[in-house]
């Protein structure tokens, strides 16, 4: 039988989960750059939503704003734990090489953007994802992050200009090296 009515609570919550699972998962995927961690965040977020729905106040903002806030907070919390873990590993193994993108990766535009985004600070990367992936307005981002709209504006301005500098430098590096090489040949 494909027409299944479950109990009211489960039915509504299942509908809620399926409606928003991609929003939560993809936001987490971008923030953490890991499918496994995004999957874990999806579980954590909806578990918290299940327990906290009764405290949700629409007068303080839309449901999605609240959901984004829960998701972002879980992601930031994971990143902090990850950072602590990284520090710990570096202490144990000081000779572990630092990862640098290969020059081949840099030639690929998508990878270049990804790398540039990953080098942004947590605060800047978060506003970039919420604005240019989730397409939230500045006011919505301000609500999600609980910061003033002016701060959203200044963070996005700084983020874009940092990215431009980073990506611009990358694209300008190759011709510069080429010119040096030609001069050397001329000698």
């Amino acid at each position: 039988m494909d027409l299944i009515c479950r109990c009211q609570t489960e039915e509504a919550f299942a509908a809620l989960f399926h409606q928003y699972k991609n929003l939560v998962y993809k936001t987490a995927y971008l923030m953490l750059d890991s499918a496994d961690e995004a999957e874990d965040v999806l579980q954590e977020v909806f578990f918290q939503v299940y327990r906290s729905l009764s405290t949700f106040e629409p007068s303080k903002g839309a449901f999605t704003t609240w959901l984004y806030r829960v998701t972002v907070n879980h992601c930031l919390s994971r990143r902090r734990k990850r950072r602590l873990l990284t520090i710990s590993l570096e202490k144990i193994s000081p000779l572990a090489p630092t990862e640098h993108p290969s020059s081949q990766d840099r030639l690929e535009d998508e990878e270049a953007v990804r790398q540039a985004l990953s080098r942004l600070s947590e605060k800047l990367r978060t506003v970039v994802i919420l604005r240019y992936y989730s397409e939230l307005s500045y006011a919505e981002i301000a609500q999600v992050l609980n910061i003033p709209v002016g701060t959203v504006k200044s963070r996005l301005d700084l983020a874009l200009k940092t990215l431009r500098q980073e990506l611009g430098t990358l694209t300008e590096e190759a011709p510069t090296l080429c010119a040096v090489s030609q001069r050397e040949v001329a000698k």
Partner: protein, 338 residues
């Protein structure tokens, strides 16, 4: 405005997040400044590049198919919130639905209580769609339908799900005399919303309607070909199975429990009719006689619809005697029955 001032506002200008006066000043400056024009073009290209990159990276990213079952297993060990949480949340999410509780407070029969509780479930599941950015654009308004039975009115409503919601304009009285009348929705794994609503009594005669968006190929299952409203449909007879069913009543609903509130019921010798009407796939499953099912199927018309978010103060009151709709068909009081 000087270049330095304009430069600080260019990102917000591109994002349409500057004030009208700032916009005017920036435009005036850009008209005479090549440097800032180049900066604007570079930032605009960068925004598109970043946005495109983020979209590409998530295009194939999706939760595992086991995500919901994992969560269910985890929730099974969790103390379920009070069964009254859903109506409370519903009221907060869609304040207009507060009228449901006003009706409860006015003293309703449990039969109505079940119906209205179920309506709440329908409203809630459809209302959430309006909050999803990707879906927001598709939500163009609300739908609503009401049926009048000798025992009372039943109504359903919600935000338009992206396809035309159809409702029967004819229903036999027997479906309104059962102990259960309800409406519900469900989201498929692909995120599409289906609507289903149930009339009647599992111990008597019953009918369940399921609707969803029509797939591109409009494929029909195997079965006996029938014609419904000039469209080809399929009838499948001799069906048996189990219908998992019936939402528990919230604790805050007043009145005595209904006589029949099964979690599920087994059925035999039921029929299913499947057909397409425009952009909608419709199924009805029932133990009514085939002729009666076809008569019901042929009576389907678009639900009453309106612009704006649902519910606009629940739904507009229907003037006495009016049976039409604002933008489509509608279901008014059913005047003639067999």
């Amino acid at each position: 405005m000087k270049c330095q001032e304009v430069n600080k506002l260019l990102v917000a200008y591109l994002d349409n997040e500057v004030t009208p006066s700032e916009r005017t000043l920036i435009r005036a400056h850009l008209a005479g400044c090549d440097t800032c024009q180049q900066e604007l073009a570079a930032l605009s290209a960068l925004q598109s590049r970043v946005s495109h990159s983020l979209q590409l990276r998530t295009a194939q990213a999706a939760p595992s198919p086991q995500a919901w079952s994992r969560l269910q297993a985890r929730l099974a060990g969790e103390v379920r919130p009070s069964s009254s949480w859903l109506p409370a949340w519903l009221q907060r999410l869609a304040p207009g639905v507060g009228r449901i509780n006003q009706i409860f407070e006015g003293g309703v029969t449990m039969k109505k209580g079940v119906a209205l509780t179920a309506i709440a479930a329908l409203v809630i599941a459809l209302s959430v769609m309006a909050f999803v950015p990707s879906v927001r654009a598709q939500v163009i308004g609300w739908f609503h339908a009401r049926w009048s039975f000798p025992s009372g009115d039943v109504e359903i409503g919600g935000s338009q799900p992206g396809y035309t919601v159809l409702v029967p304009s004819y229903l036999p009285d027997v479906l309104g005399s059962g102990s259960i009348l309800m409406g519900m929705t469900s989201a498929g794994d692909d995120g599409t919303m289906s609507i289903f609503y149930f009339y009647g009594d599992p111990h008597g005669q019953w009918l369940q309607v399921t609707e969803g968006p029509a797939p591109a190929d409009k494929a029909l299952p195997a079965g006996q070909e029938v014609t419904i409203g000039g469209q080809k449909g399929v009838l499948i007879t001799g069906l048996s199975g189990t219908l998992d069913h019936i939402s528990p009543l919230p604790e805050d609903v007043q009145g005595a429990p209904p006589a029949h509130r099964p979690e599920s019921f087994a059925y035999q010798n039921a029929q299913r009719l499947v057909w397409y009407a425009g952009d909608t796939r419709v199924e009805i499953l029932s133990n009514l006689p085939v002729e009666e099912m076809i008569k019901i199927a042929e009576s389907f018309i678009p639900a009453k619809t309106g612009e704006g978010e649902f519910p606009p103060a629940w739904v507009p009151e229907q003037p006495e005697g009016e049976t039409g709709s604002e933008t489509g068909g509608g279901v008014g009081p059913i005047e003639s029955r067999p």
